[in-house]
Symmetry: C2
Subunit: 173 residues, 2 copies
């Protein structure tokens, strides 16, 4: 499919000076026909995902947390004592790419790497006090400003049905 961000301003000037118009009837030449595209699963799924991430970033602007970083903090808190490989692979992140991510979180004092005494190759991951505090605030922002939008948009029952279907796709498609 396609669908990028292009978050910028859409420059939708109301512009009474509409460019195209055959002067009489002849509908607006603008606005292409999406056709089958609007029913292509991948296309609509990607567009929805971009919108959701975009909204997430706005909601977390005060904490400067990306979706990926939020998922790391959540997983480390829920699974204390795990090493980088375990956390990364659970999230679908390759170990090499997880290094820079942790460097970032650690430099902001949100989490820490601790050399394991059992296996001195591995780094045990833990949240710092600041990390726990930030996560608590992030969790609240996500719930009230982000996830709540889904209820406003779809209603509680539909929201749950949506999550269930997406989970099924994620695990069985």
């Amino acid at each position: 499919m396609t669908v990028s961000k292009a978050a910028g301003k859409s420059s939708e000037k109301p512009a009474e000076t509409a460019k195209g118009r055959k002067d009489v009837a002849e509908a607006q030449p603008e606005a292409l026909q999406l056709g089958e595209l609007s029913e292509q699963l991948g296309y609509i799924l990607k567009r929805a995902q971009l919108k959701v991430f975009e909204n997430f970033l706005r909601c977390m602007a005060s904490l400067q947390l990306t979706p990926a970083q939020f998922s790391v903090l959540l997983l480390v808190e829920k699974n204390p004592g795990r090493n980088q490989t375990e956390i990364a692979s659970t999230l679908g992140i390759l170990r090499p790419n997880f290094v820079a991510m942790l460097d970032n979180l650690e430099s902001r004092d949100l989490c820490a790497r601790i050399r394991s005494t059992n296996d001195r190759r591995s780094h045990i991951l833990v949240l710092t006090d600041k990390g726990k505090a930030v996560l608590a605030r992030a969790r609240k922002l996500a719930a009230t400003k982000h996830e709540a939008r889904l209820n406003d948009l779809l209603g509680q029952a539909n929201r749950e049905a949506l999550i269930a279907m997406l989970s099924k796709i994620a695990s069985e498609f």
Copy 2:
């Protein structure tokens, strides 16, 4: 959230020599707890999207079409006589990034740029005969091998409900 591809082999050797096991009870130390993550809209949405794209690529392997390329062919066919800017912006692709994409499709003789006689700045996009033939085959593959999976997985009614909800998110979130 996170979620990359890491499509590779998961190397799930049945391995009777399971690594962790406290010898008695003590469940498997493997498998982390996802916790709230499994209900985070963005996380599950991204994972589902990756799975769907992955499957799409497999289904289109014989035609070597990516989701983005497929969407371009669909849109050009449905909207003959449009220029690059119109097609690109409809798909959320920035014009500079659309150039290489068209170079690719054109080099494979799937579509062609035609200098407009009205406005000699713009390139009118059309599908070549080969492009139409490939699209026809792609459309069939997508319908029978890709989209059909959704029905198998969710059922017709749920599939339609899912598409509708995603569309709503894509346009109103």
